[in-house]
């Protein structure tokens, strides 16, 4: 039966059918790849980092975990609403309705993190902040962003480039910073 199928596929009609199937799969895959490169839908569309930074709010005010541990973390909703509740313009703004609903109902907003690395990478913000790196060195100029977007792909080559550069001529430091076990353990 299978042999018959393969024989038929070698006929012109079969070749056309195979081509159609291939194209369908290829476009589905291409579409899939395309969607991964799009910004995901977030619970507060158009959240403006720009506005917050322009008021002089420090990154660590909302993401204090970056100086203490692995994850920078999201601000608790109480912290968001603590300010927005007191600003007449934002208290009833349509843009912030999702936040207001979440706070009043005790539900959590579901954010989709975009600055992430795979599970086999043991990334820790604290070490980077302690080494004197500024947030924008990895996360780009957030003062110009609305909803956050990665300025580059967080892949291993990009990590290593910086690690090697940071070591400079210091061989001992290079061994530490370029060791596999530094990030994969």
């Amino acid at each position: 039966m299978i042999k018959k199928l393969f024989d038929w596929l070698k006929q012109p009609l079969g070749l056309i059918a195979a081509g159609i199937v291939f194209l369908a799969l290829f476009s589905a895959a291409a579409y899939g790849l395309y969607t991964t490169q799009q910004a995901p839908e977030q619970p507060v569309p158009g959240f403006p980092h720009k506005t917050h930074v322009s008021f002089g709010i420090q990154c660590l005010y909302c993401h204090p975990g970056a100086s203490k541990g692995p994850a920078a973390g999201l601000p608790s909703q109480a912290k968001c609403w603590g300010c927005h509740n007191q600003i007449v313009k934002t208290r009833d703004s349509a843009l912030l309705a999702p936040l207001k609903d979440a706070v009043l109902s005790g539900q959590s907003l579901e954010w989709v993190p975009v600055a992430i690395v795979p599970d086999f990478v043991q990334f820790n913000h604290r070490a980077h902040v302690a080494a004197g790196r500024n947030c924008e060195e990895c996360h780009g100029d957030v003062s110009q962003m609305g909803i956050y977007q990665n300025p580059q792909v967080f892949n291993m080559g990009w990590c290593l480039n910086c690690h090697i550069e940071a070591a400079g001529e210091d061989q001992a430091k290079l061994i530490k910073l370029a060791d596999c076990g530094t990030c994969h353990y």
Partner: protein
């Protein structure tokens, strides 16, 4: 591969399928995007992405081990032992690990049975106020904890009955017998503590100290010390018991004595040792005849000689355990076994017998109620002397022998209020259930009764916020006492449970040599929470006065057996489930250490006996005692005397949630109400009949490591 479908074709199609699947799923957004939920209100002591650890006390049994619980974003994730806790030094048993399954158990009582706490507290207040103080009684678990102290205060101030502590573990350990024997021999009551680690050899008469006996973690540590070879010779361990326990399975010599003859055997060994050593025969051993003793116990005389020689060579520690003391002559057996230690001259010495250290805030040993005391409690319930009953931390309908009549007596009590976390058998029969928090959601402290040479007050604090609309029983009582007014309100002048605990704990600030100190109460309490308790760095084991033991008089004659039948009946506490573990699937799934049976009850029978009776593995038999009968599967167990059958205690719940209900049977239904002289139940001194009901059916029977049949309810338990 067939002609139509070649190997090459198969690989082509498989490859194509795999590639399509990978493309369509791997590239899809669903697999790449994760969701993160921020806190509503982040606790200040939390850090994003990092675990928070809390020290508390395990509430699964009354031993009082320290735990450190890892929590992540407000959820308890893992329990481990608290390495700074002197009792368990960082270790836990299986029950301690499974305490999480109590916290997350779907069968928890989620709200007071009246619907709201205001009416619940009103009902408690009315109960306190409207009944005469003498008509109100509290029945509590074995743990000597803060709630026990609070209720004791209330009872002392108002004339209510003093709270009664009871637990099946204490009943099967025959704790009252042990302390009574110590009082008779040493003139001082206390819970004996046996230093296994320092001994050269241990003769244990039915003590299952590696499983559930008294305080299994420190005894297990002691056993490790006994067996250690690095610093001394490897210690020898001899176990005397009719049915091999998991502890007995570790013994160098296992001596299957007939139930009730342990005392005779101990005295006979004592006599043989004295003969070997020469000199005057101590009075305590003089009356026994080793030949008759060996015959009564069903062991070879030669074996006793061999053991006596071992005794002369090594410094032997003799331990009387629960199964040996649960006999009509249990008190004499306890005295005979303890007297054996006089030959090693080890009272109050390393490797010997001590009386347990008293905990901080404790002036004398306060043991849980014996079965006989429970019988008189039941009598009071029946006669109407007790009209209102509060139950907390114990499930007497399940834990006491059915023949004691607790269930019937409970039905006659006007007002029954249970504070149970789960709808167990007693809560199901109560008029109201006002649920307490789970142990991991609760504040508290607990005195460590034994197992450690220092006086320890173990501390408990919530590791998570309560999940449901439950309330701490201490808070309910304090609020109800305020409503009731008068002597009740003045007896409990506290804002809440935490204030009561702080008041009691801060009394320790003035004590010297504490594990920590602080100059103000708030700091002291913070340390108490951080370290999981407070202890005094002062060795406080009490050396008993054993000077008159050898000149005493112990008559460990043969016991009287209750009932008739061809078999001795030995119920034993399941090492994994014990009295309250059956509602936790991890413990149900944990194979019994000696038989590997899971999720069910079995009857252990010697294969030779079974062969004579035409009984095979997984046959269903009926066990008939003088007070009841139960049906269960037979497990052919070579390590049991041919004239004895045994059953584990732990299953056979009729309530207590989906994992526990209608699974196996409860051997307590068979136990006749007979007591020994110390008032403990003579549970191991019974004779029973066995009748075969049906032969094993393929696919139905006991689940074991090798076969999981019966796990999902197709077993016998489901049918009745």
């Amino acid at each position: 591969m067939t002609e139509q479908f070649s190997r090459r074709d198969f690989l082509k199609l498989a490859g194509l399928g795999a590639a399509t699947t990978a493309i369509l799923t791997g590239c899809g957004p669903a697999s790449r995007y994760v969701k993160r939920e921020p806190y509503q209100q982040m606790p200040e002591y939390n850090s994003v992405g990092q675990s928070t650890y809390y020290a508390t006390t395990c509430r699964e049994c009354a031993a009082g081990c320290g735990l450190v619980v890892r929590t992540y974003q407000g959820r308890a994730i893992k329990t481990e032992g608290n390495a700074n806790h002197p009792l368990n030094l960082g270790k836990t048993c299986a029950r301690g690990q499974a305490t999480l399954q109590g916290l997350y158990n779907p069968d928890r009582v989620q709200a007071p049975s009246t619907g709201d706490w205001d009416s619940a507290i009103q009902i408690v207040a009315d109960t306190l106020k409207n009944y005469k103080p003498g008509e109100v009684a509290f029945l509590m678990g074995m743990a000597p904890d803060h709630l026990f102290d609070l209720v004791t205060d209330l009872a002392n101030a108002t004339g209510m009955n003093a709270p009664v502590r009871f637990g099946a573990l204490g009943m099967f350990e025959a704790r009252a017998t042990l302390s009574k024997a110590a009082e008779n021999l040493f003139g001082q009551a206390g819970l004996p503590w046996f230093d296994l680690g320092g001994a050269q050899a241990v003769f244990s008469f039915g003590a299952n100290f590696l499983e559930t006996w008294i305080s299994p973690l420190p005894y297990t540590r002691g056993f490790v010390g006994l067996r250690a070879k690095e610093t001394k010779i490897r210690g020898t361990f001899v176990q005397f018991e009719a049915r091999m326990s998991a502890t007995g399975a570790k013994a160098d010599h296992w001596v299957p004595v007939r139930p009730g003859t342990e005392g005779l055997v101990a005295l006979a060994i004592g006599k043989l040792v004295s003969e070997l050593r020469g000199g005057a025969m101590p009075r305590v051993f003089s009356s026994v005849n080793p030949v008759e003793a060996a015959e009564a116990a069903g062991v070879e005389l030669e074996a006793l000689h061999h053991l006596a020689e071992m005794f002369v060579t090594f410094n032997v520690l003799a331990i009387p355990g629960g199964a040996a003391l649960g006999q009509s002559n249990g008190l004499e057996i306890a005295e005979a076994v303890l007297a054996l230690n006089a030959l090693s001259d080890n009272f109050g010495k390393p490797g010997g017998v001590y009386l347990s250290a008293l905990a901080p805030n404790q002036t004398e040993y306060n043991r849980p109620a014996s079965a006989e005391e429970m019988a008189s409690f039941v009598e009071k319930m029946k006669s109407g002397a007790i009209k209102a009953l509060f139950v907390h931390g114990v499930n007497p309908v399940f834990e006491l022998p059915a023949s004691l009549g607790f269930k019937e007596a409970l039905a006659g009590v006007e007002q029954v209020i249970s504070f149970a976390t789960f709808t167990d058998e007693t809560a199901a029969a109560a008029k109201f259930v006002f649920p307490d928090h789970h142990g991991l959601e609760s504040w508290g402290y607990q005195r460590v009764a034994t197992g450690v040479s220092l006086p320890v007050l173990s501390g408990a604090q919530p590791v998570v916020s309560p999940f449901y609309d439950t309330r701490a029983t201490a808070d309910v009582l304090i609020a109800a006492a305020k409503l009731a007014g008068g002597a009740f309100a003045t007896a409990l002048p506290y804002a809440d449970e935490v204030e009561f605990i702080q008041t009691r704990v801060s009394e320790l600030m003035s004590e010297a040599a504490g594990s920590f100190s602080a100059s103000d109460a708030a700091t002291f309490m913070a340390y108490f929470q951080q370290y999981g308790g407070w202890y005094k760095n002062v060795e406080a084991l009490i050396a008993p006065d054993g000077s008159s033991v050898l000149n005493g008089n112990v008559n460990a004659a043969e016991p009287e057996y209750a009932g008739e039948g061809e078999f001795f009946f030995v119920p034993f506490v399941s090492p994994t489930l014990a009295e309250a573990g059956a509602n936790k699937p991890w413990l149900q799934e944990l194979p019994d250490p000696t038989t590997t049976v899971m999720w069910n009850t079995w009857i252990e029978m010697n294969p030779e006996t079974a062969h004579e009776l035409g009984i095979a593995n997984d046959d269903v038999v009926k066990v008939i005692s003088e007070v009841g009968e139960v049906q269960a599967y037979v497990y052919l167990y070579p390590a049991i005397r041919p004239d004895t059958i045994a059953m584990p205690f732990g299953q056979g719940h009729t309530a207590y949630g989906q994992y526990a209900e209608n699974r196996g049977v409860n051997p307590a239904d068979l136990i006749a109400v007979r007591f020994n002289e110390a008032g403990d139940l003579a549970f191991a001194g019974m004779k029973v009949k066995v009748e075969k009901v049906s032969s094993a059916v393929s696919g139905v029977g006991l689940s074991r490591m090798e076969s999981r049949m019966g796990v999902y309810g197709e077993a016998l338990g489901e049918e009745h």
